[in-house]
């Protein structure tokens, strides 16, 4: 305690975590507080470091795809798409149109699932319990759709068992370099359409009251303001960046999959505070729903996989492929040396950058608002730690 402010007791050091109900995953924060105000905060990560990048170098692409599922389990499709896209770039594969549309549907459904998970936990952290239950209930519906996608794959007579064998509620096994492993099961498109038609009304049902709620606004408006210049300098992307007024979305800037062929808006905030980040994510769910509906309408016929042999393909060269995940830019830097395993595979995790931005948000705020600030950044420690 050589610091004079600490010695005089004007500021104290407070530990937060590593296990705290408000944190998704394990995060330690070392806080310096002056009374109730946070003076500085130092995140300590690495408690869920699994050594995934080392494993990537030892396995071929098919096996690596089962690891990318778990990097951001809130939306497994995002990391899968980024990895598959990097391999496709290096091999020069063109994904068939039907697969591009189906992958877009899966990616947007998982964006909805990820944002619902965020909404439920963020609301619960701030004391609003009904949205927690409602959001998780909705999320169950989305996950069930994703689970049923694998029905035919496992050829089970009992349709509720099929996905269970794969643990496929959170994982989404099916995205491959070159397209998808299999096509839709019978009846899936109708079920998806039912979901898409009823989702906006249900979302308004539990998010609507929250948006206009005086307590919610009191707790979130003006909290954790992030200016666009600071956000970009810190590598913040995704809804957190757009809420600051910076309109940057890779789905529009560098369209991939079917995003260049459908209409959708990208919500952009004004003030860069916690309330704006909430509004942006809720609107993104509505837009994601709109994208899924259009993709279902325009779904072309045809094959869903470019070439079956791509799973064992030897990859040479290097590339970076980034996509717009629910949290921000998700990317893979893939280096191949002519063998079936990647030579180097680095995962660009949005949560890694956002956690680095957390001290910027926290300085000067009250300790009681800390859970709101961690929640508003939508960090997932598993992807930050890899």
């Amino acid at each position: 305690m050589s610091d004079p402010l600490l010695q005089r007791g004007e500021e104290i050091e407070l530990g937060f975590g590593p296990r705290h109900p408000a944190i998704r995953g394990v995060l330690r924060l070392s806080l310096r507080v002056d009374g109730d105000r946070i003076v500085d905060c130092r995140p300590v990560i690495g408690h869920v470091h699994r050594g995934v990048e080392k494993l990537f170098e030892l396995q071929p692409h098919a096996d690596n795809l089962s690891h990318t599922d778990r990097l951001d389990f809130g939306s497994a499709a995002a990391a899968n798409l980024a990895y598959a896209g990097a391999v496709e770039k290096l091999l020069g594969i063109v994904v068939p149109p039907r697969a591009r549309y189906l992958r877009t549907i899966l990616a947007e459904l998982q964006r909805i699932a990820s944002h619902l998970l965020w909404l439920g936990t963020h609301a619960a952290d701030l004391g609003a319990m009904p949205p927690f239950f409602a959001a998780f209930g909705e999320r169950d519906g989305v996950l069930e759709l994703c689970e049923r996608y694998l029905e035919d794959y496992f050829e089970s007579d009992n349709e509720s068992e099929a996905g269970q064998e794969a643990g496929a509620r959170l994982r989404l096994d099916g995205i491959r370099p070159g397209g998808l492993s299999h096509d839709l099961p019978a009846g899936w498109a109708e079920r998806c359409r039912e979901f898409v038609e009823s989702f906006p009304a249900r979302l308004n049902g539990f998010a609507g009251p929250l948006t206009e709620n005086r307590l919610w606004k009191k707790r979130t408006v003006g909290l954790g303001v992030l200016s666009p210049e600071v956000a970009v300098d810190l590598g913040v992307t995704g809804p957190a960046l757009r809420a600051s007024g910076f309109a940057w979305d890779l789905r529009k800037a560098l369209p991939y999959e079917a995003y260049g062929e459908v209409d959708f808006d990208v919500p952009v905030g004004r003030n860069g505070d916690t309330y704006d980040r909430y509004l942006v994510r809720v609107e993104e769910m509505r837009q994601a729903n709109r994208i899924v509906a259009q993709c279902l309408d325009r779904l072309p016929d045809g094959p869903v996989l470019a070439e079956p042999s791509v799973l064992e393909a030897k990859v040479e060269g290097e590339t970076y492929h980034g996509i717009e995940g629910p949290r921000g830019e998700i990317g893979f830097y893939l280096v191949g040396d002519g063998t079936a395993n990647p030579y180097r595979c680095h995962f660009r995790a949005p949560s890694f950058a956002h956690l680095q931005a957390l001290p910027e948000l926290c300085r000067g705020e009250l300790v009681g608002d800390l859970v709101a600030l961690i929640g508003t950044l939508d960090v997932a420690l598993e992807e930050a730690d890899r």
Binding site: D233, G235, G317
Partner: protein, 174 residues
């Protein structure tokens, strides 16, 4: 892998920065520049202030044990205004004797943690970094795991995990 001799950005940078740029190629669809290690901070500052590369997407390391110097530090930059990406590479050595790579935390604050990660997992030093400590692993960990000669299951790493005799204090035995 074509040469990028005609890329306007490559030509402009060659004029401004001269020998700092050792080579320019198109790799995986992106302009890739090999930069002289000592000049990386100036090159990055120029790219940010004059060419709009305000967004540091990613910073990582790669190990090529057969090469000398052994490591490569790779920077991925993006200019949202021009919707353009660029990749920079710097060769870096190992050990205390090898010169460190100048830190670019002064150019983008986003570089802070990724440089710590490269130090943690590869052992590459960054000169001028405000806090070059391990980030994913813990102090006392022995080695740099992403090096090619580090076994995946680890060596005696000084792990602090406690062990316990299984079959201890469950409650409620009838």
């Amino acid at each position: 892998m074509e040469g990028a001799a005609e890329d306007p950005l490559a030509m402009a940078l060659r004029e401004e920065l001269g020998e700092a740029i050792e080579s320019a190629r198109i790799l995986g669809g992106d302009l890739t520049l090999q930069i002289r290690r000592e000049t990386i901070a100036e090159v990055c500052a120029a790219l940010k202030s004059k060419h709009g590369f305000t967004y540091l997407v990613d910073l990582c390391g790669v190990d090529f044990p057969g090469r000398e110097p052994r490591f490569e530090v790779v920077y991925h930059l993006c200019s949202p205004a021009a919707n353009r990406r660029v990749r920079l590479k710097v060769a870096a050595g190992e050990g205390e004797a090898a010169a460190a790579v100048p830190s670019v935390t002064g150019v983008w604050r986003a570089a802070n943690w990724p440089e710590r990660e490269v130090w943690d997992l590869y052992g590459v030093r960054f000169d001028g970094h405000p806090d070059l400590t391990r980030i994913l692993l813990w102090e006392g960990f022995n080695g740099h795991p992403l090096r090619k000669d580090f076994p995946v299951e680890g060596i005696d790493t000084g792990a602090a995990a406690a062990t316990v005799k299984v079959g201890g204090s469950g409650g409620g035995e009838a």
